[in-house]
Amino acid sequence: MNPRVEVVALDCLMLRLFDEIAEANMPWMLAASERLRAAFGKQLIDLVPSYTTLMVHYDLTALSPNQARELIAEALIDLSPNARAAGQCHVLPVWYDLSVGPELSLLAERSGLALAEVIRRHSAREYQVFALGFAPGFAFMGLVEEVLAAPRLNTPRKKVAAGSVGIAERQTAAYPVVSPGGWNLIGRTPAKLFDRDRDGYSLMQPGDTVRFEAVSHAEFINLGGDDTPLEVQA
């Protein structure tokens, strides 16, 4: 780790902790987040974590740029990875099926694996939540096995159903609400990923871990899933 602080706006500094995406970053990122929240207190407006960085948005009426830099420097003194290693571990039920995950066949073709093997491998790993973004509660997770990696669709879909589970490069994610999207879809989860009435709003938080669990169509429906086939855009 080689922390650097960069200017990104009049009231925002970027703390750059790593240069590459890695699961091993997360305990450090969590530890640094905790320290920054404590150091800035009420003068912190937002802290935006992403794979290798933490963006600190502070109250510019309370802190000068230099004071903000000093707070960051102090927060990092003797930093050690968070012993709890990560947040919560979630198990997301997924109905893997071509009707809701049309790219299952594409991934099978690319990898030379059978459909069932693609599903088994996607649901075998425990993934890290690297960052939330794109939409409320949309968690970028990884890393999926190299053999399952696939680039985003050339033409993004205008409409991806809520709960859709997809793969882009070596990352995986689930869409919290209906939205446009270019990820390779492989299934659908009935889990409610973002809920304004839930404490913390988002099911997954940065630093959490996630495992996908294959469920049957009947279980998916029992859990409240919507099996309306995906409208594949022309």
Partner: protein
């Protein structure tokens, strides 16, 4: 309680406040008034907290009828406002009697007008804010992110008796052609020398592809020569440069993280001015030192302390 009935509206007429904070790590965008200065002045006129909910009217097409005697305030763009056909200039508070009609016709100067009410317009807070973000289905009158629609009722509970103006010397100058101040970012050195010259020495035209997520600037194509970036947090006003070399200034409803290289970020004061520019307008950019811009910002905030 005083009420106004909406007679006409467009998808660009939104209930806004200063924005939604403390939840960006969950992928929730900031939202809030695109021109925070004019929002603040509209609230200042009524003695409100500067960040209470106002109506952001972009380009016009908005009409309300008073169901009670009202005292309101208007700041920002001149969108050809009229009370029962009589012109109403911005930067003042004014009376709207029961039955009178307030209509915003077309942009005469600037793009966004802010209508304020004593104590702020009533709206539920969702994740700490009433700011309407249509894409995220958050905020607004119903809390579900809908724009203001014909037939809906606006209400407020506060009281104010003061009819007054923002003093001339304190009003933002929407005709100003001064360059927009840019705080330089970490990737600035990764653009070609020619690009760095072009950024600050040529005019940029606002594209028609502009919304509350971002405003595209058209001009000489800029060349980024650095490594591809890993997505990271995006501040308000960030000027990102996608592969086509045409910069995009990111506004209140931007995505929370992104991986395009950035020139830096406009200062909040520059951003408020940009938010009042219409497609086709030309702007220039000027590099600014963070400390100097910080001082200027604090000085500007002093204006709101006068009464």
């Amino acid at each position: 309680m005083s009420r106004l009935r909406i007679e006409a509206s467009t998808p660009l007429c939104l209930l806004q406040d200063a924005g939604r904070f403390g939840v960006r790590h969950l992928g929730v965008t900031q939202g809030g008034s695109a021109d925070w200065c004019s929002m603040s002045w509209a609230n200042w006129l009524l003695g409100n907290g500067l960040d209470v909910p106002v109506i952001e009217i972009t380009l016009g097409g908005f009409t309300v009828i008073a169901e009670d005697d009202c005292l309101l305030a208007l700041a920002g763009a001149n969108l050809g406002a009229q009370i029962d056909g009589q012109p109403l200039a911005p930067w003042c508070s004014f009376k709207l009697s029961k039955g009178q009609k307030l209509q915003f016709t077309q942009p005469l100067l600037g793009a966004r007008a802010y209508l304020a009410a004593p104590g702020g317009f009533e709206a539920p807070k969702v994740l700490g804010s009433s700011a309407t973000v249509v894409r995220e289905e958050l905020g607004g009158l119903d809390g579900m992110g809908l724009p203001l629609v014909k037939g809906a009722t606006l209400s407020y509970r506060g009281e104010s008796l003061l009819v007054r103006e923002v003093p001339l010397g304190l009003r933002p100058d929407l005709k100003s052609t001064a360059p927009l101040d840019l705080v330089l970012g970490a990737q600035i050195g990764e653009f070609s020398g020619q690009s760095l010259f072009d950024v600050f020495n040529s005019a940029w035209m606002l594209d028609s592809r502009a919304d509350r997520m971002g405003i595209r600037l058209l001009g000489k194509a800029l060349q980024y020569q650095g490594q591809p970036m890993i997505s990271e947090g995006i501040p308000l006003g960030a000027v990102q440069v996608p592969p086509d070399g045409q910069p995009i200034v990111l506004l209140n409803d931007r995505q929370t993280i992104g991986g395009y290289p950035r020139l830096g970020a406009l200062t909040p004061l520059a951003l408020a001015r940009l938010a009042q520019c219409l497609p086709g307008a030309q702007v220039r950019l000027r590099p600014v030192v963070q400390d100097a811009a910080h001082r200027e910002h604090l000085e500007y905030l002093q204006r709101f302390l006068s009464s």
